[in-house]
């Protein structure tokens, strides 16, 4: 059967994508199950020979978003191009605080997972597809069903929100204090 041959082999990929979106194994299990059920019921809409993985990812993301809507309302914000320049403000703050090297000197894995759960949709999905999963703007646009310009503006806003949260994390973790003590040792 075509469904077995084309859709089922992508289960590991769908699981990883679901895990990226949910950041929770139990929630990912539910999303994967629902994704495959919906895919099976909608199999007649799949265009043979097209990218089945991407088709499944689109369903997976929609399943995830519906589950999130049930859990809590999503926040819709429109990003603007000024966010691109405003991202420099985060960096300027990091320089002033002496933590501009936080990404190379801190293990941010847990902080990134935590921060991602706080980023509102639609920015979160866009960040996961492009920044975490390292897919192109074009792939993100297709999966999200939006123009490339929208992917771009969502990334500007989403990246700024992420960096603000990671900066807060570094400050809360006392990274500034460590940097200052290193500086004092250098000057001694």
């Amino acid at each position: 059967m075509a469904f077995e041959r084309e859709a089922l082999p992508w289960m590991d990929d769908v699981y990883r994508f679901a895990l990226s979106l949910t950041r929770d194994e139990s929630d990912a299990d539910d999303v994967v199950q629902d994704t495959y059920l919906r895919a099976y019921r909608s199999w007649h809409t799949y265009l043979p020979g097209s990218d089945c993985r991407r088709w499944l990812f689109t369903i997976c993301r929609n399943v995830f978003l519906r589950s999130r809507e049930r859990a809590r309302p999503t926040v819709e914000l429109e990003a603007t191009d000024s966010d691109a320049a405003a991202a420099g403000v985060v960096y300027a703050t990091a320089v002033r605080e002496g933590i501009e090297d936080l990404f190379s000197r801190l293990d941010l894995g847990p902080a990134i997972n935590d921060a991602l759960t706080r980023i509102p949709e639609p920015f979160r999905s866009t960040l996961i597809i492009v920044d975490v999963e390292d897919q192109s703007y074009e792939a993100a646009a297709e999966e999200l069903g939006v123009p490339i310009g929208t992917v771009r503006s969502r990334l500007f806003r989403g990246r700024r929100l992420m960096q603000e949260q990671l900066l807060d994390y570094a400050q809360d973790a006392g990274f500034k204090v460590r940097s200052a003590s290193v500086e004092q040792r250098r000057n001694a």
């Binding site: 990883r16 990226s20 994967v32 691109a84 320049a85 420099g88 300027a92 894995g109 920044d131 703007y137």
Partner: protein
């Protein structure tokens, strides 16, 4: 944080900074990308920001769920629910 962008960023850098992510994401055409690179060669502030953004991108990629595979119980759940919907492998 600074109240305005101009408080934080030199005025000559604002345009380049607004294009920085497009540059890092290979979304600029050749001439535009060359202009950003030329500015970077001369501007320590923007080079620092570029390093900062690359560091962010690398950190985000490290959060990728990597080689995780669907556990057996997920496969079983998927196949059970598909069977209930009429799927016969």
């Amino acid at each position: 944080m600074p109240e305005t962008i101009s408080e934080a960023i030199p005025a000559t850098c604002v345009e380049v900074i607004s294009q920085l992510w497009d540059h890092l994401d290979n979304q600029l055409c050749g001439d535009e990308s060359d202009a950003v690179r030329l500015h970077m060669d001369e501007c320590a502030h923007c080079r620092g920001l570029e390093r900062f953004q690359i560091g962010y991108r690398d950190a985000m990629r490290s959060a990728r769920t990597g080689t995780a595979t669907a556990p057996w119980h997920v496969r079983a759940r998927v196949l059970d629910s598909l069977a209930d919907a009429g799927f016969c492998p």
